[in-house]
Structures are given as C-alpha cells and as structure tokens.
Symmetry: C2
Subunit: 261 residues, 2 copies
DNA sequence: CAGTGGTCTAGACCACGGG
DNA sequence: CCGTGGTCTAGACCACTGC
C-alpha cells in the first residue's frame, strides 16, 4: 500500500500516458522492436513532441508488462537512431530537431534507389574482364582475376545525371542487363543474398573532359562531382568497387551523420 | 563433473584462448567497455585475424567471470563499430576487410580537426549580425535574431584549401579570434560544453567565380567542392550552420558508411 | 541433433543531476 | 535528498545453422 501510494505520488505525468501500445507476444518480431516501432510512430505522429519526457523506464516496463532491460533495449535503439536523448538524473526525451525524417543513412543508395521521379538506366557495358591493378587491390583479388565491369548512364526526366562505372568479382553473381536497366545494382545484390554492410567513399570534384561533357550533355570544363566507393558485405569482404561521375548542376549528395562518442 | 567434461569436450579452440584479458572491477570504466577495448586491441594487434571465430559467448563469460549479457554488450559494441559479425548457429567472427582503421565517422571533422600536416586558419571575419532568412531557418531562430558569422580561410603548406563560412546563434558562446586561428571551431564548441550529436550535410560541386578563384588561388571556372552543413547538439538543437568551399584539386571527402539494417 | 546467437526476465547496486 | 539512467547478474527459452 505504501508502495502504491509512493508510486502514484512520484509518477510523473508524461505525454506517453496517452499513447496506447499493442504488444503481441506471439509475433515473431521481438518485443523490444515492436515497442521501438510504436514509440517511433508516436514521435513521428506528433503524439510525443520534441522535448517531451518519456517517463522513467521502470514505470514504463511495469505498465507494459515487460522487463526493464527489454524496455531499455527499445529505447536504446531509438537513441541510436538519434530520436531520443537520455540524461542521467533527468530522463529520456524526444530530440529537438524538426527535420529528422531521413535519418537512416541512405547515401549509399541515394544514386541507386531513387525517390519520386522516374530514373532510367542505360547499360553501356556489361562484360567480364581481367582486373586491373587498382580494381584488384580494391576488391582484394589477384591482379588479372575475372571481374565484371559495368558502365551505366543514369537519366532523370530524360536528362543525363550520372555516369556509373562499377567492378565486381565475376564469381559473385551474373548480372542481367535487362534487370540492371529496370532496377539498381544494389537491389540485385540484395536479391542475390548479398547484404551490404559498410562502404568506403571518396567524394571530390573536377572539370569535365570533352568526352565526359559529351556523354553527360555538359560543356567541357563544367564542374563534375566524382565519387569512388568500395562496398563490403557483412563479413567484410569487398563486393563492389565503383567510380561515379555526376553532373554537379543536377546532383548533390545529401546525408546525415550521427556522431558516436 | 559431467558438466565439466561436457564443456571441455565441446569447447572449441579459438584464437581468443591465447589472449589475456585484464578486467578491473574497481575501475570507473564499465566492464563491458573494458572488454570491448581489449577485444578491439586484440583485433587491431593481429591476435585475432579476420575470419577468426570468437568462441561462444557462454564460455567466454565463464572464463572472464562475467555474465553473458555483459559479454554480449561488449561484443555488440564492436559489431556496431563494424569489427565483428554475428551469425546465428555459427558464431561471432572478425570481419574480413583489412582497411578498417578510421571506421569512426570522422567526416564531420575532416576539415576541422586535421591530421598530420600543419594547417593554418586565417579568420577573415568574426562578428555578430542579424540572421538572414536562410540562416534563421537552418538554426531554428527568428529572422533577424543575432548570430555570429565567421569567415575563415584554411591553408595547408601555405596553400589555400578551403573557404569556410559559419553561422552560430550569438547566445551560444563567445568566439575568440585568436583561439579560432589556433584550433578548430568544433574543438571550441566541445570545450564550451557543447557536444555535437548529428549533422545534415549536402555536398556538391560548381565552377569557381572570379572572386572565389582569387581567394583560393585557383583560376576562374575551376571545379570547387561545396558543402553546406547544419550541426545539432545532443538535444537536437541546431548549433551551427556552415557553407564551405574547397579546392577540388587539393581536397576530397573521405569517409566510411555503416549500413544498419 | 547439438551448438550458436537472439530474446527475455526479475531482480540488484551504483553514479549522476537537480531540488 | 531522491529519482533518473547506467551497469550488472544468473538464470531461461527460442530460432536458426550446420552436420
């Protein structure tokens, strides 16, 4: 009884009290993930405004019928995503920034899985060749090993946007030209059971050569955005090495960073 | 007894067996973090080669005198850093890529906290002005609110590399010109107790105007790398908005991405 | 089938921050 | 001081993988 009155006395009213959570213990999706999704929905939907306290973890776990570590795991995943902030002695609150929708790092796909408009891809080249020294080094293969070389031209609204040149170990998969024109390379890799895990990128700029200008419908000397990337699968094996050239007048990289202390 | 023999029978010999771990329960640094650091050192030092299995978590926790969740937390932190991979039914192994040293995302600081060479910074401007519409929007302030505007020229080896223009809420802190020339803006922010948490960046390219060319010792029309960034502190409040211009001939962004499924 | 990581529980004590 | 998150324990059962 003393316990109960103490709890009700100290229980802080939070915006979370009004939110209903539906947890399905029979679902194959983990409880902490269900909770995280519903918390995220509450934040995105405005039920939890920026700066709102979440209320302490113990009360929340009691209310939800979960253990505290499980609740913590859910909250932690949102902290990792940058949606929540924890403060010792204070509580957990919703982050203040308004713009946080595309917080998932998408820059890996920015140029491959497009939003909205209708991008088209023309495959200029798709064949197997011996690896050059540079490609071999990037892919961790011996020089001369067979690699698939891919050259593509990407357009949006009929206008060229980017020239993409990629190299992959030939043993990895067969790339169908028709499929490549219909979808992105990364989708094909994923469909082949290859899950990307990390990538190393270098982004620079330079002036267009005459050939590049002709290909991209620019004038010679126009500013181009360049990117070279090596992507690794979840075991750390190099899977793809690409050299991309973008028309700076029609493309920019847009991404978010999370600083992990 | 049966237990013991069973365990020794099933215990897999791993490269980890040879590694000595020293855990200090009296230390203020958490056990899981001590373990993570020592595991990382073992990997970086080569005691654990790429592809090596770590051995199961239960055995490891017994050997270290820790609970399994604690060991898991240590391992998870290295998985998050991209050093380890977990596979159900298989085990935890060291990732294959050789190049993983600068896996911490450093691109936020690439241009502000330099490596090696001796960069110098010349402060061209450091004053308080009313916020323009664009700056006010980026910083979440009313238009006309006082902001500190900062213009700097960065050189390495005596050659200009970048022109940096930054805006900060004037209420945030006082920026000492002398200190700005001696260290980076982000170091000053950190020293003032402001911890950066996330940032939104846009990277593009364009041709130099005559004025930009003169400032950066380029020729008019030369390719420039541009970057605009808004940085947020750990509560999600905008802290800084910058527009930077880099000489593409002397600078490129180099960074790593981790794909979180 | 046996071994692995994946998830979850029900407690405990500590360190920090604010009133 | 008290409430918060931060850390840690000692178990449990499940799902997936590979043989």
């Amino acid at each position: 009884m003393a316990r109960t009155s103490a709890r009700s006395r100290t229980a802080t009213v939070t915006a979370l009290d009004a939110v209903h959570f539906a947890l399905d213990r029979g679902s194959p999706v983990p409880l902490y993930h269900q909770l995280a999704q519903q918390l995220e929905a509450a934040i995105e939907g405005g039920a939890l405004a920026p700066g709102n306290l979440l209320g302490n973890e113990v009360d929340l776990s009691v209310r939800l019928g979960l253990s505290r570590p499980t609740v913590r795991q859910a909250i932690q995943s949102l902290v990792d995503k940058g949606l929540l902030v924890r403060r010792r002695g204070v509580g957990t609150q919703v982050v203040h920034s308004k713009v946080r929708r595309p917080l998932e790092l998408s820059s890996l796909y920015d140029d491959l899985e497009e939003a909205g408009q209708g991008p088209t891809t023309e495959v200029l080249r798709n064949e197997t060749v011996p690896a050059s020294a540079e490609v071999a080094a990037a892919l961790g293969l011996p020089e001369g090993a067979p690699v698939t070389v891919l050259e593509r031209l990407r357009r949006t609204h009929g206008q060229p946007v980017a020239y993409l040149c990629n190299h992959l170990p030939a043993s990895l998969l067969d790339l169908d030209t028709a499929r490549l024109e219909a979808t992105g390379l990364y989708r094909l890799l994923r469909a082949a059971g290859i899950t990307l895990h990390s990538a190393h990128q270098t982004v620079g700029a330079r002036s267009a050569t005459a050939a590049e200008a002709a290909l991209l419908d620019e004038t010679k000397g126009a500013a181009l955005l360049t990117m070279t990337r090596t992507a690794y699968d979840d075991t750390g094996r190099p899977v793809e090495h690409g050299t991309h050239i973008y028309r700076a007048s029609r493309y920019a990289f847009d991404f978010r960073l999370l600083v992990r202390p």
